[in-house]
Amino acid sequence: MKKAFFIMTLVFLWGLMVASIIQMPTSGDINNPSYNITTHYYINKTIRDTNAPNIISAIINDYRAFDTLGEATVLFISIIAVSSVMKNTYLKKREEKGDH
Amino acid sequence: MQIFNVILILFLITCAIAVERTKDLLAAVIIFASYSFFMALLWLLLRAPDIALTEAAIGAGVTTILFVGVISKTRRME
């Protein structure tokens, strides 16, 4: 009973996914909703704005530079978390002194 | 090129299922590295070479080494 319910739910979710994939526009079509004014702006004006031929690098490091600063902060927080868990020198010093 | 794409996606799905079914954690990590490598090839076919570079360097290289380091500190079997 429980297994049949699981399988029914999975089949329903699979049908939902296939139905939404069929509705998606084909990749690279000119009528895509993602092919809008923003794409035109980046393709036409990137060289004028930043002198960089690599449009992706220009978007990451110039137009969306604040977002990249956030990613660098995520790396920083991850390294703080790992060193605070693995290298607990503060706790070791307290154990050597003997005051728990 | 279409057939190559389909074969790559089939390998990808097989690797993803095999990672979940494997009991040996070291073998699962190696299969996960091959998953990342097929993903990098797919990014290359989707014309995103910078993402392919990042996936090959971080997904197949650094993540595997970090997982192996953690397994050497803990148990190998699930």
């Binding site: 060289i47 704005d49 930043t50 002198n51 960089a52 031929p53 690599n54 992706i56 690098s57 220009a58 990451i60 490091n61 110039d62 530079a65 604040f66 990249t68 600063l69 660098a72 902060t73 790396l75 920083f76 991850s78 390294i79 790992v82 060193s83 693995m86 290298k87 | 070479p49 910078d50 570079l53 990042t54 360097a57 971080i58 290289g61 650094v62 080494i65 970090l66 380091g69 953690v70 050497s72 500190k73």
Partner: protein, 140 residues
């Protein structure tokens, strides 16, 4: 790992990997690549040294304090580049309006602050990878 073949091949191949990583970082605004992938390649070369030649050799090249200094320094460098935009009277992280050297299209030293930010991200990612692996593998 104490094996002659692995040690010899590592000594031969590490400079080429590092040159490739520096190439990816410095050409981030011209060809595909950028700070994240180049930094990962650079960090992987140091991890290769740790795995084949031992932890002592790798920490002689880049120690824990040096790595921590590079991490904090690169993110401060990023924020300072952004503050140049504020000082010149524009928004945070402005490129052309802040008076950076723009140069010719296609040169390595061109397009303002983009190579500076790419170098900062590359150093940050490389030192993060090295510190993560050394912290995990370190004997206590």
């Amino acid at each position: 790992m104490d094996d002659l073949i692995v040690r010899t091949v590592t000594k031969w191949i590490v400079p080429f990997i590092q040159v490739y990583g520096i190439f990816i970082i410095l050409h981030g605004h011209i060809s595909p690549g950028g700070g994240f992938s180049g930094g990962a390649v650079l960090g992987s070369s140091i991890i290769l040294i740790t795995l084949s030649l031992g932890y002592k050799k790798a920490s002689g090249i880049i120690s824990h304090s040096t790595s921590a200094l590079l991490e904090s320094g690169s993110i401060i460098w990023y924020v300072l580049i952004g503050i140049v935009g504020i000082i010149s009277g524009n928004n945070f992280l402005t490129n052309r309006g802040a008076g950076f050297y723009m140069g010719e299209v296609g040169d390595v030293i061109s397009s303002g602050m983009i190579p500076l930010i790419t170098v900062a991200i590359g150093i940050k990612v490389a030192s993060t990878v090295i510190t993560l692996f050394h912290t995990i593998i370190e004997e206590d």
